[in-house]
Amino acid sequence: MTQKITINLNGADVTAEVEPRLLLVHFIREVANLTGTHIGCDTTSCGACSVVLDGKAVKSCTLFAVQADGRRIMTVEGLVTGGQLHPIQEGFHEKHGLQCGFCTPGMMMTSYAFLQNHAHASEEEIRWAISGNLCRCTGYVNIVEAIKYADAKLHAPAAGGA
């Protein structure tokens, strides 16, 4: 038995008839055709499927699409605005925060949510924030650098302020 749900995905409503057992990550990848969100372990361990649900980073393999009915989801595709990379994406590019890139969408979404309410975070805070996201290329040093880059750019004092 299916039910009709509407999820706001990166600012646009997506409506579909889904089975209750459809996981959010499958909704994102196979119903909305946004394949930037990856499926890694599929067991709530690796964080490759991390997306932002109403401002909080969550593992989309451990949430049913029906639970997100009427709510806002942001995926990696939602970071770019007007062709401009988000400071998080710029940071991963500038600081070489990826090697194979598989964990990167999840890393960026977790970092994005973290930097929404943390400014000038310490290395320890950053490492704690991404402790649910695994990188198997041992890239954490540069990932932390990338997040610091984005933190500085997002929370820089306004230029020319009074």
């Binding site: 089975e19 209750p20 057992r21 709530t44 361990s45 909080k56 980073a57 969550v58 977790t110 649910g132």
Partner: protein
């Protein structure tokens, strides 16, 4: 991994949720889902109906009143972790919420679910034993209060009836001179505890231990109250020797089994060490 088929309901009120539970004996309550959904995906559980309580209003209370901290059923681990009230007045609870699973899981997981699931590897049961907390169970004939000591009845088993919902957790407000700490030994973030120890105590004006609670995580079929360890310290000035004695008793009184996280002997030893450290940290906070 795809779960077996189920029906899904989002009752808007507690009575409607209870009615669904009464009508479906094999239904499961879904809240944060961070233990249930993995079990569904592995098909360890195949309930025909999920009753999602997360859209019920009025279950997100996190405030002190009448000598208790009231925690609603839908309060997430991250809410506890980030709460200035919890951080300043309930350090044991803050410690615990900070080490449950990982940050993304904590954005969905609830403390009520952590208790109702009654996994001996979960962190809050030991902490609630240490606090001598209470839970509120709401069923067809209203709400009843259950002391945490009679809440856990076995492996994944609680005093909740099938048609009852754990609607609130109540933690006693701290007395003067109180402190607590939770120490968890884990192989990596996100793993269950190899062993964990929760300690909560308060000191009287003369520096003697007045009230004390010690709970042990994942070293038995359910969270264990280290009763003899508590008795050794109650009414005493907590010397290093007494703390060592309390820790040695916890080592004797736990009941771990060997698994990939270590042998039973190793875990007993870790219980001793963690008990000692948790007591020292609790005392340090009580004196601060």
């Amino acid at each position: 991994m795809i779960p077996a088929e189920f029906q899904y309901a989002t009752p808007p009120t507690i009575p409607e949720a209870i009615a669904l539970l009464q009508a479906h004996q094999d239904a499961k309550i879904l809240s944060g889902g961070q233990s249930l959904i993995p079990a569904l995906k592995l098909r360890l559980a195949t309930p025909p109906l999920l009753v999602d309580i997360s859209r019920i209003a009025g279950l997100t209370t996190l405030s002190e009143a009448g000598g208790w901290l009231h925690i609603g059923a839908l309060v997430r681990e991250a809410d506890l972790e980030e709460s200035p009230l919890v951080r300043s007045r309930y350090p044991l609870l803050h410690d615990t919420s900070h080490v449950v699973a990982d940050p993304l899981v904590r954005n969905l997981a609830t403390i009520a679910g952590n208790l109702a699931h009654a996994d001996p590897a979960n962190d809050h049961p030991a902490t609630m034993l240490a606090y001598r907390a209470e839970v509120v169970a709401t069923g067809p004939s209203g709400a009843r209060v259950i002391a945490v000591d009679s809440f856990f009845t076995g492996l994944f088993a609680t005093a909740l009836a099938h048609d009852e919902i754990l609607t609130e957790v109540r933690v006693p407000a701290p007395m003067a001179g109180s402190g607590g700490a939770y120490l968890k030994l884990e192989r990596k973030v996100g793993d269950f505890a190899t062993a964990g120890v929760a300690a909560q105590l308060n000191l009287d004006a003369a520096g003697r231990v007045q009230q004390i609670g010690i709970g042990l995580t994942n070293v038995g079929p359910m969270a264990i109250r280290a009763r003899r360890s508590e008795d050794v310290l109650r009414g005493q000035s907590p010397s290093d020797a007494l703390i060592a004695q309390a820790a040695a008793l916890a080592q004797e009184d736990c009941d771990p089994t060997a698994d990939l996280r270590g042998s039973a002997d190793y875990k007993r030893n870790m219980v001793r060490i963690l008990t000692m450290r948790a007591l020292h940290k609790a005392l340090e906070r009580a004196r601060a």
